[in-house]
């Protein structure tokens, strides 16, 4: 068995040179929390591991010219407490706070969560709702910005070819009073892989209370998180201090009915999604008044007698 070669680029030039060397049997390791698990479980030994942890300058969160730019090597622990996201990307900060355990959030990165392309990736659902794009660099040093959805293969998994790496994700802040929220359901209240997750982004009217437009993303019921703006449209015109509109919760249930009919998980997910919809709406109504860590315990994670 050939030994795995290890490269740890320290700057963009070294990264590009390393990417040029990649084959289909090479892997990039960012935090490692998904990759190391996969390698160990499968017994697969890559020909080359590119370790991104020595790269400087890819763990930023900046708000520039109406766009929020997040470095691919930002860890979940950084993102959950980030002051820029607290104001301009609450849903992403919330998603980061709900990833795994403290141990995992200390290493797991934004870029890794996107590149791993799990159907239930929490950060991905938040990014999809935020209409984010990813900046990808290749072995020739070319960078391209692509919509997040383009990074997922139609049948599941990553669409990133060997030799390309995500360096940044970004999303527009827009001019309106925008609020975002994330909610998930796991088998326990923390440290669980999402069985269902969702993110909501709403723009408010000038009154700061009425929904002008809304975007919804749902994860774990398809090969990748997807947008369901037609469902979110039920929120338009609603006041965020009012009860969650029934059209929205019913729309979320219909989504589950359409996407996973007949699956063993269908029966509970179609009920659970109602709780997620209400959690999202509750966070939108309260956001700006609570730091991420102080959100109330999500109702949807408590068994409700079913």
């Amino acid at each position: 068995m050939a030994q795995t070669e290890w490269l740890a680029p320290r700057d963009p030039d070294e990264l590009v040179a390393a990417l040029r060397r990649m084959t289909g049997a090479s892997r990039i390791v960012a935090g490692g929390s998904d990759l190391m698990l996969g390698l160990h479980a499968s017994g697969f030994h890559p020909d080359l591991l590119i370790d991104l942890s020595r790269l400087d300058g890819f763990a930023h969160v900046r708000h520039v010219d109406g766009r929020v730019r997040v470095g691919a090597l930002s860890t979940c622990a950084q993102l959950q407490d980030d002051s820029v996201l607290a104001t301009h990307g609450h849903g992403l900060a919330q998603a980061a706070a709900r990833v795994g355990s403290a141990q995992i959030r200390n290493v797991a990165t934004l870029g890794g969560n996107v590149a791993n392309a799990s159907p239930c990736a929490d950060l991905v659902t938040a990014l999809v709702a935020l209409d984010a794009s990813a900046t990808v660099i290749d072995g020739l040093g070319r960078t391209r910005e692509r919509p997040i959805a383009d990074l997922f293969a139609p049948g599941g998994g990553s669409a990133l070819p060997p030799g390309e790496a995500i360096v940044e994700c970004s999303f527009a802040q827009g001019h309106a009073d925008r609020r975002s929220a994330f909610a998930k359901l796991g088998v326990r209240s923390s440290v669980a892989v999402s069985r269902l997750n969702a993110a909501l982004v709403v723009d408010l009217d000038r009154d700061g209370a009425t929904v002008r437009s809304a975007r919804l993303a749902v994860g774990s019921i398809a090969s990748a998180a997807f947008r369901a703006d037609a469902v979110a449209a039920a929120l338009i015109g609603a006041r965020i201090d009012a009860a969650c509109p029934e059209g929205f919760t019913h729309g979320c249930m219909r989504l589950v009915d359409e996407r996973i009919p007949g699956r063993p998980s269908w029966a509970y997910k179609r009920l659970a999604v109602r709780g997620l919809a209400e959690d999202l709406w509750g966070v939108i109504g309260a956001s700006g008044t609570r730091p991420v860590g102080k959100d109330p315990a999500p109702r949807s994670n408590r068994p409700q007698g079913w």
Partner: protein, 159 residues
């Protein structure tokens, strides 16, 4: 590749495979058996160690990640044969049943108290959410951590 790191205060220089897990290097190459392999999937926290002071799952971290960095395992808590405050309080509070989760619990608690000297019980529970106790002895574990935090804060005059 050659790995140069500090482990429990001592410099080490060893040969490791590029795709080796930190857990295997600690246990098999360095003979430090405190960090346990429970689930091998980052769910149970029995392998928790500190990397530059941050709690990580040694089963999910490449050993290469420790290059030129500081690794601390449960073996590094006691000084000169004397258990540290958390270890002593775990014993005093009966926070140990079968003991399998104890090294990981101690390392998560150590990371917490370094960052938040006077945590609330909710903060303690959140900090050890990634550490499963198969004996379900969580209440005594949280009590022990809270007791140490209270005593340390008092002795440092933090109040």
């Amino acid at each position: 590749m050659r790995l140069n790191a500090t482990v429990n205060g001592d410099p080490v220089s060893i040969e490791v495979a590029a795709d080796a897990r930190l857990l295997d290097v600690l246990r098999e190459t360095l003979g430090l058996h405190g960090a346990k392999e429970g689930c091998a999937a980052g769910e149970c926290g029995a392998c928790t160690v500190l990397l530059d002071g941050l709690a990580v799952n040694a089963c999910l971290v490449p050993a290469t990640r420790a290059q030129n960095r500081d690794v601390r395992t449960v073996e590094g808590l006691a000084r000169n044969g004397v258990l540290d405050a958390l270890q002593r309080q775990f014993v005093a509070s009966g926070a140990i049943q079968c003991g399998y989760c104890t090294p990981g619990m101690l390392m998560s608690a150590t990371a917490l108290l370094a960052r938040v000297p006077r945590p609330t019980r909710a903060e303690i529970a959140a900090a050890i959410a990634g550490n499963l106790c198969r004996c379900t002895g969580y209440a005594a574990i949280i009590d022990a951590i809270e007791t140490v935090a209270t005593h340390q804060s008092a002795s440092h005059g933090a109040d």
